[in-house]
Symmetry: C3
Subunit: 462 residues, 3 copies
């Protein structure tokens, strides 16, 4: 099969300057889900009808689909399919047509629809001209109603909400926005569809009644899940579609041994992977290509993006970890900010109000409060006191700091990079380190402390 | 029309020392919503029946309504309306009566109800004595049931849950707590309502059957939305009403071009305004008179109150911004704390664990980690290192700090206010600045660093 | 009555190495809720059938129940009850049998079921051999269907989903997993139940049809709430059960005078207690044995565990308070981290990016930004500046810091413990305090500040 994705729409109800289909759901453009579903269902030859700001759609879908430019749109889905005729006019098989704003259709549904068409041909000896994906909704308001020959799967016509009679409106079977057309039949019928009297647009659904009136076979095929029918026409629909996809992903991982608390509050991008016995607290965000190893516990509100979290790591509440690796057994948080290019070593502990950027933190290192570690290498077992800062920027350039194994950096010390502290060296609290400290040495830079009797009270009271 | 709001109730089921109607929904007292709905529907002459802790209701509604004090309450809504008779006894038109604990009634419903009464008079030639707002609930438990003459809109009586027969309990049309009375008819009938045998209270709903028995016309009028009927009798009802109002506000902005992720977790006060293409992540709180410009992205969990966020600003997760202005293109967060009286200039970057209070941060300034800036003016393009503190308080008074354009303040430096750093001056990391630094100068206050070979290891091991 | 809890299951669908019943709901193992419900219903003699990793179940339930080891399990609930026969074979009264994965059964339901059995005997003169807790579900998929003699409460049989005919599947009354057996009758019948043809397991529900066929009386008893029927077979069920229990607890406190905002996002452990007029913002977590006094307001996203929060305390958003006491009128947050062994005194203020551990903070103390206070005693009214750190660890041991009443500790100062600052003493900002400071004294340790004209600009530009 070939497939054609309709992605030319403006989405006026989105009130957006961007094409509707590039708006994102869980970090991926809406149309990405449609194309990804087709690919997962085994369809490689995919055309995408683009129009308004076509380049933005190209940016998200890349080179592996064929773009069909709708240059002079009269409007309507039928017009979009017509304008892409070069893509399918010589095709002797089936053409799937799917709306680019239908991100919830499942790969298994597309696979089953393909099988259905072929099985009807094989076992009933009937060539289906068009199979329409449908579903039953308890509230069908806003959807095209599917009118069928009673007691059969034969569709007579699809009626848009605004054109429906009261009886037709009561029909709960709706058009889910996915069609399998036998291309030669579509080619015969589609050019004859006239513009709508009401809107002047050419509706693809008009093909159905035309086909039926010529004795062609139009059948319904039931969606796996009623949510598949959701077409995203507004930003509110986008929010709903995102929630549906999110809960599908969460359910997937729950079935594979992950415990979720308040799953409805957890954000999980489609490319994230989770190990067994992982425990996810409420309000957690896992984005991008994050990988979470077995037995990890991620505390409430933590925000992890493109990170690798090793086995048995504990991420305490309200930690932000982006573009970093946290090795097995380490503890992060609460309120840690681990940034790009950082590796937190095994069993290391990064605590509250500590930021680490582009640094390698050795195993067993402790940096438990109020510190900034940037462009540093910290040897295993080192202890970084509260208030310690690596001054990695001098106003012009970034420089590196090396801290040896087992080294103790006293609180409120400042390490002015480039600088190196040897293994098992010791920086007294409050020091400013401007030169390298040899292995095992003690470094101090402190002014003598002076006392003035009675003067403190005087400063406070006078 | 005049309107009378019943706000004298104690709300015993709230277990509160405050009057029920001053409990807050999205930061506004419950009764504020009722009065605001009446005003939006064009009603200016509003009376409010107050009783228990009347001054607390006055505090929230101010001087633009008329207060009617219920001095010797016998109890019941009928008694409340009677006790306010001075407000409406000479009124020749309609009197709207609404419960102060019905915050979900929509302005359009009140407008439509007014029109309905006048249109029935004009087109049917019927003077309505009382129109009752009603709605259908799938579960009507707890609500007064509306018993009508079959096949008409004429109400025969309203039956409270506890007095209802099993047949009456099965009725799904309920009293939504808003009435339009033709005042002269109300004046005739209300004084004749006797106290309830069960409770001794005088119920306003008894007026309905009395009117009907005298051949007066009592009609139902359908609410726009079933949620309008919710009366807030418990704190749980308060939580539900808050959720309904919150989602109405979110839906309003969604329709105007704002993308919400997990909208059900977002807090949005009624006075907040949002620009087009704003993107709101989950768990965001926007309170008070916050204004958010176009294209702003607000990260998960951020908490913004009475702030102005300029076009294209990025607020990263878990930032708290209160009483501040963030100018276009600036970046804030994660974990920033921007406090009252602060202006963050264009394209400035305020980062993790940075607090700014009563300060003007120039455009392009960077203060990216662990700093406290209070009572300061920071010139454009200045760089504030990690751990920098402006010591604005000396134990008795607050003082100001001036930092020039393009100035570099090295990490862990302390600026003891009052103090001024000239443009393009440079404070070496770890310095304590006690005197002004001239333009272009370098300031350093550091003790010489001393090294003691082997002594570090000794401190760690012995 | 005696009760037998079936807790031997592996829970293969959990994909877990631990027994299913020790997985936690709101911090308590699932089986804890079952045993706790039985105890609250007045049942003291409780047996627990254990098998797979029995020691983990023992660890959570302790010594107050009797453990019955299922040594050679053939599988199935019937087999589990058989294998525990020593516990009930000589019992002349009723034996409650309940699944260990049914954590939502309510104590009142168990009490009512006990009464029901006795009342039927007393008033109808009928000895019930088995009473089965049932409920009606709108979607009964997956549950055992309860097939009754029409128009009576007599159960004929219980049919598992997979064995049910289409007519039986349409039955909406389901088995809720709690049985009251007259023990002598159970003893007579249970040994005759054969293994299932399909699975080889012995199902307890088979007892029902056997009893009925012998003329014994089997009755249904309706659950108080349909949620009670939820059996936890997957981690997804666990998430749902946690949500149900959570909202029950929240509703309980809401009815007692606590206001919840977005209650569906609030986490509340079963042992937490809340005072009147407490206000809980969204995303708040209250865990363990936390006690919250009257009038406390807890800001969005705050995380409180095993803490005591005194009357009128304000916890601002995103504060983490664990194992600490916050005394009346104090303010904490935003972004405070109050740790184990800390007492924050009355009206003290702990602000943003401040961590306090194992310290006693006196009343009225202010520590408002970026500080670390560990192993310290801070006298009343003291002021701790931004960036202040108590260096409580020297690489080998922890030491204590004493700060006197009304003392002022200037910003970025470092107090090297053990050290003591007298009352009303004053530490100049940026000082490193290595020796005790007498009462009323001023302590300074600062290098002289040196200026180099033009050199700052040179460092920035060259």
């Amino acid at each position: 099969m070939k497939a054609l994705v309709l992605a030319a729409g403006l989405g006026t109800r989105f009130k957006s300057k961007r094409p509707k289909v590039v708006h994102r759901i869980l970090g991926k453009p809406m149309v990405w889900y449609v194309v990804s579903t087709l690919r997962q269902a085994g369809i490689q030859d995919i055309g995408v009808v683009v129009g308004y700001k076509a380049e933005e759609v190209r940016d998200v879908l890349g080179d592996e689909v064929t773009y069909l430019h709708q240059r002079d749109p009269k409007g309507g889905t039928g017009d979009a399919v017509l304008s892409a005729m070069e893509f399918w006019k010589d095709h002797e098989g089936y053409l799937l047509v799917v709306n680019g704003d239908s991100p919830l259709i499942l790969p298994e549904t597309v696979r089953n629809l393909q099988r259905f068409v072929h099985m009807v041909e094989e076992y009933e000896g009937v060539k289906i001209s068009c199979a329409v994906l449908t579903t039953f909704l308890s509230d069908p308001t806003g959807y095209g109603r599917v009118i069928k020959e009673e007691g059969t799967d034969r569709i007579l016509r699809i009626v848009e909400e605004r054109d429906a009679t009261p009886e037709e409106r009561a029909v709960r079977e709706v058009n889910a926005g996915l069609y399998a057309f036998f291309a030669p039949h579509l080619k015969e019928v589609l050019p004859e569809v006239g513009p709508s009297e009401a809107t002047g647009e050419i509706y693809l659904t008009e093909v159905v009644s035309l086909m039926t009136s010529r004795g062609m076979e139009v059948r319904s095929f039931m969606a796996t899940d009623p949510t598949e029918a959701l077409g995203v026409n507004t930003r509110w629909d986008l929010s709903i579609a995102e929630n549906v996809l999110r809960l599908r992903i969460i359910r997937f991982w729950s079935d594979r041994g992950v415990t979720f608390h308040l799953p409805e509050t957890v954000w999980l991008d489609p490319d994230v992977t989770l190990g067994e016995e992982v425990e996810i607290e409420p309000d957690v965000t896992l984005k991008g290509k994050t990988k979470v190893g077995p037995g990890v516990r991620i505390g409430r509100g933590s925000y992890v993006e493109n990170a690798s979290i090793g086995e048995g790591v504990t991420v305490l509440p309200y930690s932000v970890v982006i573009g970093a690796t946290v090795e097995p057994g380490a503890t992060v948080g609460p309120f840690s900010h681990i940034r790009e290019g950082t590796v937190v070593g095994q069993k290391a502990e990064i605590g509250a109000f500590v930021e680490v950027k582009r640094s390698r933190i050795g195993s067993g290192v402790k940096a438990k409060h109020l510190a900034y570690i940037g462009d540093a290498e910290v040897g295993e077992g080192a202890n970084i006191g509260a208030g310690v800062v690596t001054a990695n920027y001098d106003g012009k350039k970034k420089h590196k700091t090396f801290i040896g194994k087992g080294t103790f950096v006293g609180s409120n010390s400042l390490l002015i990079a480039p600088v190196s502290l040897g293994d098992e060296s010791y920086v007294a609290g409050g020091s400013v380190i401007t030169k390298d400290v040899p292995e095992g040495a003690l470094a101090v830079s402190r002014s003598p402390m002076r006392l003035f009797e009675g003067k403190g009270r005087k400063k406070l009271k006078d």
